[in-house]
C-alpha cells in the first residue's frame, strides 16, 4: 500500500539547515495498523506530513497504492488527498460553524457527490461512530471524544485507502483515548490501513506494528501482539 525509499527532508532555519529525515525506508501493507513512535524532534510528524502530501520530501520516492507521489501541483495533491487519504488530527480540526453531519460531508462535497447522497452517506458514518443522535450539533456542543469520533467519521467519509492519525488521543483522557482506539481497531478489523503517530506507549501497543524513529532514522521496526483497547475500557 505504502512504499517509501530513502526519504530525506531538511528545513531551512535561517542560515542553518535542519536535517529532519535522514533516509527513511519502510513499507506498509494493506490492512496494517502501524504506530510511528518517537520523541518530539524525531521527525515523526514530518514523516506523516509527507505521507499526507501536506509536505514534500527533498529526496527519495513515495508510492501510494501503486501511484508515484512526486512533483505534485496543488490541484493534483488535493485530488490525491481526497481520494487516497483520511486525516485525523490531535486538535480535531472540525469546522466549528458546521454541524457534525456537515463536517463529515465535507470530503464528499469536494468529491462532487450531490447533496442528498452526501447527507445519507455521512449519516451512515456518524452512525458507525455512534453519534447519529448528535448529527445536527455543532462541534462546540460535543465532548472531546465525540469531536474525535466526528473527525474519524469525516476521515472515513471519502472511503480512503489509508487513514493518517496524528496524536489522535493527545487531547483526550485515557478512558476516552481507549474508546477511540477501540473504534480505530474496529475500523482496522474491517481491512482499512491505518497509520498512527503517537508518543504514548500504551496507545502504540494497541497497533499491530511499531516503527520507532529517532533523530530522523528508523531505529526499530517490529510486529507486536495487539492489545485490544476494549479490555482497558
Amino acid at each position: 500500500m505504502i512504499e517509501i525509499k530513502n526519504l530525506h527532508k531538511s528545513y531551512k532555519m535561517g542560515k542553518n539547515s535542519l536535517h529532519v529525515l535522514k533516509g527513511i525506508n519502510f513499507n506498509v501493507e494493506e490492512g496494517e495498523l502501524v504506530s510511528i513512535m518517537g520523541s518530539s524532534g524525531s521527525g515523526k510528524s514530518t514523516l506523516l506530513n509527507i505521507l499526507g502530501m501536506l509536505d514534500e520530501a527533498d529526496e527519495g520516492s513515495y508510492t501510494l497504492d501503486g501511484v508515484p507521489i512526486k512533483n505534485l501541483n496543488e490541484k493534483l495533491a488535493a485530488q490525491y488527498r481526497n481520494k487516497f487519504l483520511g486525516f485525523i488530527f490531535q486538535s480535531f480540526n472540525l469546522i466549528n460553524y458546521k454541524s457534525a453531519l456537515d463536517n463529515v460531508a465535507l470530503p464528499l462535497y469536494y468529491q462532487g457527490v450531490n447533496r442528498s447522497e452526501r447527507m445519507e452517506r455521512s449519516m451512515a458514518y456518524l452512525e458507525k461512530v455512534g453519534l447519529a443522535a448528535w448529527a445536527h450539533h455543532k462541534p462546540n456542543e460535543l465532548s472531546g471524544g465525540q469531536k474525535q469520533r466526528v473527525a474519524i467519521a469525516r476521515a472515513l467519509a471519502s472511503d480512503p485507502k489509508v487513514l493518517l492519525a496524528d496524536e489522535l488521543t493527545g487531547a483526550l483522557d485515557s478512558k476516552t483515548s481507549y474508546e477511540i482506539m477501540d473504534l480505530i481497531q474496529q475500523i482496522n478489523d474491517e481491512g482499512r490501513t491505518i497509520l498512527v503517530v503517537t508518543h504514548e506507549e500504551d496507545i502504540a501497543q494497541m497497533s499491530k506494528r511499531i516503527v520507532n524513529l529517532k533523530d530522523g532514522v528508523i531505529i526499530d521496526d517490529r510486529k507486536i501482539t495487539q492489545v485490544r483497547a476494549i479490555q482497558n475500557v
Binding site: G52, L54, K75, A78, Q79, N93, Y109, Y110, Q111, R154
Partner: protein, 414 residues
C-alpha cells in the same frame, strides 16, 4: 459560479456567520448609500444654482430693432427699423436645425386689464407656445398657449400669478374672462416665473390675436431663440455666437441695413452672462465627482480590507478544507463567490435605500442653493457594478493568498 452545490455551501457559510456577513454588508451598503446621497446633493446643488441665476432660459438670444446710424442703399440714416413676421420666418427657415425654442413677441406695456371690479395695468404680450420655455414660465394651473390657439386667433390669455392675485383673489381664474382693451379674453392658465413678481405681472396671449387686437398688422417687437444646451461653456458660446452672427447678416441683408451699422439691430446674447454659471457648475461637478470617486475608493479599500481579515480568520478552515481535498481554485471560487454575493446584495440595499430616501425627501428640500436633489439611476447602478467588480478584484488577492495557504501551516497547533 452557477453550481447549485456551491450556492448551497455559500448560503450555509453566510447564514452561519451572521455577524461577519452583516459587517461586510453594512460597510458596502453604507458606502453606496453615501455615494448616492452625495450624487443626489450634487444634482440638487446644480438645480439650486441654475434656478438662482436664471430667470430666463440661460442661452436665450433676443433681437430688438433700433434706428440706423448709417445711410445705406439710398436710405437716410436715422430710419426706424420694424421687424415683421416675415423676418422671423426668414430666420427660423434658415436655422431650423440649430434652434431649440423660438418665438416672436408683440407686446403693449401698460394694458388696462380688468375682471369684475378689479383692474390693473399689465404688460400684454403676444407670443408663440415656445415662449413658455424662453421665459421659464411654470404653469401652476391650466395650460399655456398652444399652436392651435394661435392659428385660430383665439382670445385666450395666460396670466401671471400676481395678475391672478390682483384680479381674482382666491377664486380660480380658469375659464373666466378678463377684459383686455375692452375685449373679453378667456383665461386658460396661470404661471409663475423664477424672475419673480415683476415677471408675473404679465399676460400672454397668442401673437396672431395680439397683432389683430392691437392693430399691429404683421409687426413684431422682438424675437427670441435658444439653442440646445451644450456640454461646456466654450462650445455653447461658440455655437451661440455663430448663430447670432449668421442671423444678423441675414436680417441686415433683408432689411437693407449697412453691415457695419451697430444701432439698427440689437442682438442680446444672454449666454455671455451665464459664463459664471457654467464655470460654477462645472467646478461643482468636478468637486462632487472628486468626492464621489474618493468615497468609492474608500469603499473598495474597505471591502478588500474586510476580505483580507476574513481570509485571515478563515485560515484554519481553509487548511482543513485543503486537507480534505479542496483544490486551490475551489478556495478562490468559494471566497469570491461569497464576497461578490454579499457585496451585490448589500450594495443593492444601500442603493435602493439611498434612492428611496432621495425620492421621498428630495422634493421637499428647497434651500437657497439646493433644490430637488435626485440621482441619475444609470449612474447609481453603474457605480454599484463598479463597486462589485472592484470588490471582486480587490477580494481576489486575499482569496488567492488563502488558496496558497499550506494546510500544514494552517493546521499547526499554536
Amino acid at each position: 459560479m452557477f453550481s447549485l452545490e456551491r450556492w448551497q455551501e455559500v448560503f450555509e457559510t453566510i447564514s452561519k456567520n451572521k455577524l461577519r456577513t452583516f459587517l461586510t454588508g453594512f460597510s458596502v451598503a453604507s458606502g453606496i448609500f453615501i455615494l448616492v446621497i452625495l450624487l443626489g446633493v450634487s444634482v440638487g446643488f446644480q438645480n439650486g444654482i441654475e434656478s438662482q441665476f436664471q430667470n430666463d432660459a440661460e442661452n436665450i438670444i433676443n433681437v430688438y430693432p433700433g434706428r440706423t446710424a448709417l445711410s445705406y442703399e439710398g436710405f437716410n440714416k436715422g430710419r426706424r427699423i420694424q421687424l415683421r413676421n416675415e423676418d422671423y420666418e426668414v430666420v427660423t427657415e434658415n436655422s431650423k436645425q440649430e434652434i431649440e425654442f423660438k418665438s416672436p413677441t408683440y407686446q403693449i406695456y401698460a394694458g388696462l386689464i380688468s375682471h369684475g371690479n378689479n383692474s390693473g395695468n399689465y404688460r400684454v404680450e403676444g407670443v408663440l407656445p415656445d415662449y413658455q420655455y424662453l421665459e421659464k414660465a411654470d404653469i401652476i394651473e391650466g395650460r399655456f398657449i398652444n399652436a392651435n390657439d394661435n392659428k385660430a386667433k383665439e382670445k385666450y390669455a395666460v396670466i401671471g400669478n400676481r395678475v391672478k392675485k390682483d384680479l381674482f383673489e382666491d377664486e380660480s381664474p380658469i375659464g373666466k374672462y378678463v377684459q383686455v382693451s375692452g375685449l373679453n379674453f378667456k383665461v386658460i392658465g396661470v404661471f409663475t416665473d423664477p424672475g419673480g413678481e415683476r415677471e408675473e405681472t404679465r399676460i400672454y396671449v397668442p401673437i396672431n390675436t395680439a397683432q389683430i387686437v392691437f392693430g399691429a398688422g404683421t409687426d413684431i417687437r422682438s424675437m427670441g431663440f435658444t439653442l440646445p444646451k451644450e456640454e461646456n461653456y466654450e462650445l455653447a458660446l461658440k455655437q451661440s455666437n455663430a448663430f447670432a452672427a449668421q442671423m444678423e447678416r441675414m436680417l441686415k441683408t433683408k432689411l437693407q441695413i449697412d453691415p457695419k451699422d451697430e444701432s439698427a439691430l440689437f442682438i442680446s446674447n444672454n449666454i455671455e452672462n451665464t459664463k459664471e454659471i457654467y464655470v460654477l457648475i462645472s467646478a461643482m461637478q468636478i468637486f462632487f465627482w472628486g468626492v464621489g470617486i474618493a468615497t468609492l475608493l474608500a469603499g473598495i479599500i474597505g471591502v478588500s480590507n474586510i476580505m483580507l481579515i476574513i481570509v485571515k480568520e478563515r485560515t484554519k478552515e481553509i487548511g482543513i478544507r485543503k486537507a480534505l481535498g479542496a483544490e486551490p481554485l475551489s478556495i478562490v471560487g468559494m471566497i469570491l463567490h461569497e464576497s461578490i454575493f454579499v457585496t451585490a446584495i448589500s450594495g443593492l440595499f444601500g442603493l435602493i435605500f439611498g434612492l428611496v430616501l432621495l425620492e421621498i425627501v428630495g422634493p421637499y428640500i428647497e434651500l437657497d442653493f439646493i433644490k430637488n436633489p435626485s440621482v441619475n439611476f444609470n449612474i447609481a447602478v453603474s457605480t454599484l457594478l463598479l463597486l462589485i467588480a472592484a470588490g471582486a478584484i480587490a477580494g481576489f488577492f486575499p482569496a488567492w493568498r488563502g488558496a496558497r495557504i499550506k494546510p500544514i501551516d494552517a493546521l499547526r497547533d499554536e
